[in-house]
């Protein structure tokens, strides 16, 4: 977000509040994401916390050479057996007891996939293919040196990375792509959408304070909370989260981007938009609510795009060293692949579409995979991709890269 926009925002908000004085209720946003009704919290996003934790266990199980099997990884993804029976694939017993799963919410937003189930199924299956390939291609080559066409291990500094024949780390593809396909998609294209917030009698119920059955929240409040949960639901203190904490999903990268001077403030702005939007729902100020949703859409999409460009550029730098550092480059570019994939689920504010079309994104991914994959990728095409992405946003490649 440009500085001018940041400056504009409070002025606009002020102007709106000032104008609305006469006919709309006052909005009084609290300092942290804490909302109560009758003395008890009305905030709930347990399902989101659960799914973030499932995703964390899944990506770490992908690297557990001694214990993981294809069956186990697929069960973790689906939280059920291949035949649909109850499965207990997780270390954390709470996750085994949960009725939630990752797969059901992958590429499953109302706005993007309600009438696009074919694409949804394709994306859901893509993740299964990566999980299976990790077991079938990479695991058998745990103790083999990687080479073009040969899966195996490769050094990245003092770390060891495990890659497929084209140099990709499947665990990075899964982890970073889930940021978009699960978390951003549910947040930006589902829970923050008017189609979901205002579904059924939600507005009427919210206006009249009619609570969801057996709960202390209105349906609309809960939907908004669920969006919040995909960003901060696994924080130590979710109401007042530390920016950047977490296990490599959205909050982690919100923190990374916020740590870059060119984007400083984006985390606080996003957090405040969530709080103001939730307060606006309590006040019945739906225009203010929807304005906050647009801010969040822009910021979360920007975070994903910045990291895509950042990793493309660090991968490029590693390949351009006088002694190319393939291990470091493959790690960066595997992350870049996941973030580019995640851009499919980005959302241009006040529109129904992502910042880049699926076709454009698939073309970039195909370029990374082409030929020997990362072993012979041209650094000029990494630059091109970076430019293509940055051109759709309010930042330059330079700003994202440093």
């Amino acid at each position: 977000m440009k500085l001018s926009n940041i400056l504009l925002f409070p002025i606009l908000a002020f102007a709106i509040i000032a104008c609305d004085n006469s006919n709309e209720p006052d909005i009084d946003p609290p300092a942290t994401y804490e909302f109560t009704r009758n003395g008890e919290s009305s905030v709930s996003f347990t399902g989101q916390t659960t799914r973030i934790q499932m995703a964390a266990e899944l990506t770490s199980a992908m690297m557990d050479f001694d214990n993981s099997t294809e069956e186990l990884l697929l069960e973790m993804y689906r939280n059920e057996t291949a035949t649909g029976g109850d499965a207990d694939p997780f270390q954390n017993p709470d996750l085994n007891d949960a009725t939630k799963n990752i797969k059901g919410k992958v590429a499953a937003s109302t706005d993007y996939f309600a009438s696009n189930t074919q694409l949804s199924a394709e994306i859901k299956n893509q993740f299964e293919n990566w999980l299976s390939a990790q077991i079938n291609e990479v695991f058998p080559n745990e103790n083999t040196l990687a080479a073009a066409g040969q899966p195996g291990q490769i050094a990245d500094g003092s770390s060891t990375r495990y890659v497929n024949g084209k140099g990709f780390e499947y665990n990075q593809l899964v982890g970073k792509s889930l940021i978009g396909a699960l978390m951003a998609d549910q947040m930006l294209n589902n829970y923050l959408s008017t189609s979901v917030l205002d579904a059924g009698t939600n507005r009427e119920d919210n206006n009249e304070g009619t609570l969801a059955e057996g709960s202390n929240y209105t349906n609309m409040e809960h939907k908004w909370d669920e969006a919040y949960g995909y960003l901060f639901g696994n924080a130590e203190n979710p109401a007042d989260p530390a920016i950047g904490e977490g296990n490599g999903f959205l909050n982690t990268y919100l923190g990374r981007v916020d740590g870059d001077d060119d984007f400083a403030g984006i985390a606080q702005e996003t957090y405040e938009a969530f709080i103001l939007g939730r307060a606006a729902i309590e006040a019945g100020a739906y225009d203010v609510r929807d304005e906050q949703a647009q801010i969040i859409r822009e910021n979360i999409s920007t975070v994903i795009a910045v990291r895509a460009v950042y990793y493309l550029q660090s991968g490029k730098a590693a390949l351009e060293q006088s002694t190319p550092d393939f291990g470091a480059a493959f790690h960066d570019l595997s992350e870049a692949y996941g973030f580019i994939y995640s851009l499919k689920f980005s959302r241009v504010p006040n529109s129904d579409s992502p910042y880049l079309s699926s076709q454009e994104i698939d073309a970039m991914l195909a370029q990374l995979e082409d030929g020997e994959g990362l072993w012979d990728v041209e650094t000029s095409s990494l630059d091109q991709m970076s430019e293509t992405i940055a051109a759709q946003f309010d930042f330059t490649v330079e700003e994202a890269a440093n």
């Binding site: 745990e142 103790n143 083999t144 040196l145 291990q153 490769i154 050094a155 500094g157 003092s158 060891t160 490599g248 982690t252 990374r256 006088s322 002694t323 291990g327 992350e335």
Partner: protein
């Protein structure tokens, strides 16, 4: 108003012109190649030659020991290990060219070593030491474990090579490790003496890919990560909050970590001053470059500041126990004090020196994911 502006501008121009004569020298005018020649011919190649002799001695000591696993042969193997490990401290910072390609330092000196993996390799008898995942079960730290750490006393240690059911596997693993150290060292020495030396010296321009920029970056990286952090900071718990005595270099030797540190710090000082390997002669190096540029910091000469600070760190370390693990466990504050003195020169080298030499840092802290 306009007139004043013009007047001011004129004054400014006159002032800037007249100020030209005593201006600082241009970094580009300095003979960078003289430094590269001194580094290559009087420090790097002699240090690798010396290491190569000690690693070949290490391998032959290991062979004698495995042929005849006696107390006497164990003693001389330990002696050879010490000599080679000390010699390694003089080349560890030169991770460029073939050394970088082979990832020499990661193969020879990752500690703490992975004793579980070592035992697994020995039991199974099948291992590919070229695999990055086996970097932490080979090199000097793995040898440290194999010659010092296998038992409470020497009788117990020797039994692994004599009466144990896996004695043959232990012997084979030992010589496989010493052979690999020796082979990798020779590969790098050969690369320096058969072409890379000229390539290194001729690449005397400036810019990110010039030899001087790369070498200076390697040097500071080494000083920051491997000397300051690896040898002192990590065991002292600077990064973890609580001390980690098991993370000292040469942990199983129970007494050699300080010697290695001193050797490494001396090597770093010698490099900065261009002091010839195992000699007194002082050739061209970073100190001369800084002096040529009249580099000052807070009104004092930067070369002197850096050299004084090296000396302060050296003196601070004098008080440390020969065994850093014991030091960390009994009085960690002395380790922390040494760390602080080493850290002061990170700033002098990485900020002030690089700025004066117009060199950019080419590494960043990995973002950890």
């Amino acid at each position: 108003m306009k007139k004043y502006t013009i007047l001011l501008l004129t004054v400014f121009f006159v002032w800037s012109c007249s100020n030209n004569s005593p201006s600082s020298p241009n970094p580009d005018d300095f003979d960078r190649e003289a430094i590269l020649v001194n580094w290559a011919d009087n420090i790097i190649i002699p240090a690798f030659s010396d290491l190569s002799e000690t690693t070949s001695q290490l391998h032959s000591s290991a062979e004698s020991f495995t042929t005849s696993p006696t107390q006497q042969n164990l003693n001389s193997l330990r002696n050879s290990w010490e000599n080679a490990y000390l010699a390694f401290q003089h080349v560890s910072m030169f991770e460029m060219g073939e050394a970088m390609q082979l990832r020499f330092r990661d193969n020879l000196n990752i500690y703490p070593t992975d004793t579980t993996e070592i035992k697994e390799n020995i039991s199974e008898g099948t291992y590919d030491l070229e695999l990055p995942s086996l970097n932490n079960s080979q090199g000097f730290p793995a040898l440290d474990y194999l010659i010092h750490g296998l038992g409470e006393n020497d009788t117990e240690i020797l039994s692994h090579y004599t009466t144990s059911s896996e004695a043959q596997n232990y012997r084979t693993y030992l010589t496989d490790l010493t052979l690999r150290i020796d082979t990798l060292t020779d590969q790098i020495l050969n690369s320096w003496t058969s072409g890379y030396r000229d390539e290194f010296v001729n690449n005397s321009g400036n810019g990110a890919n010039s030899s001087l920029d790369m070498m200076v970056n390697d040097y500071i990286y080494y000083y920051e990560k491997h000397l300051r952090a690896g040898k002192i900071g990590i065991p002292a718990g600077v990064f973890s909050g609580s001390p980690l005595s098991g993370h000292v270099e040469a942990y199983y030797s129970e007494g050699f970590s300080k010697a290695l540190f001193n050797e490494a710090l001396s090597a770093s000082i010698n490099f900065f001053n261009g002091t010839h390997f195992e000699g007194e002669a002082d050739g061209q190096s970073l100190d001369d470059y800084l002096d040529y540029l009249n580099t000052m910091k807070d009104g004092a000469d930067l070369t002197s500041i850096i050299n004084n600070q090296f000396q302060v760190a050296m003196n601070e370390a004098q008080a440390l126990n020969d065994n850093f693990a014991a030091q960390v466990e009994t009085d960690n504050s002395l380790m922390l004090a040494t760390y602080d003195e080493l850290q002061r020169n990170v700033v002098n080298l990485k900020v002030d020196m690089l700025q004066a030499l117009n060199i950019n840092v080419d590494y960043v802290d990995a973002d950890g994911d």
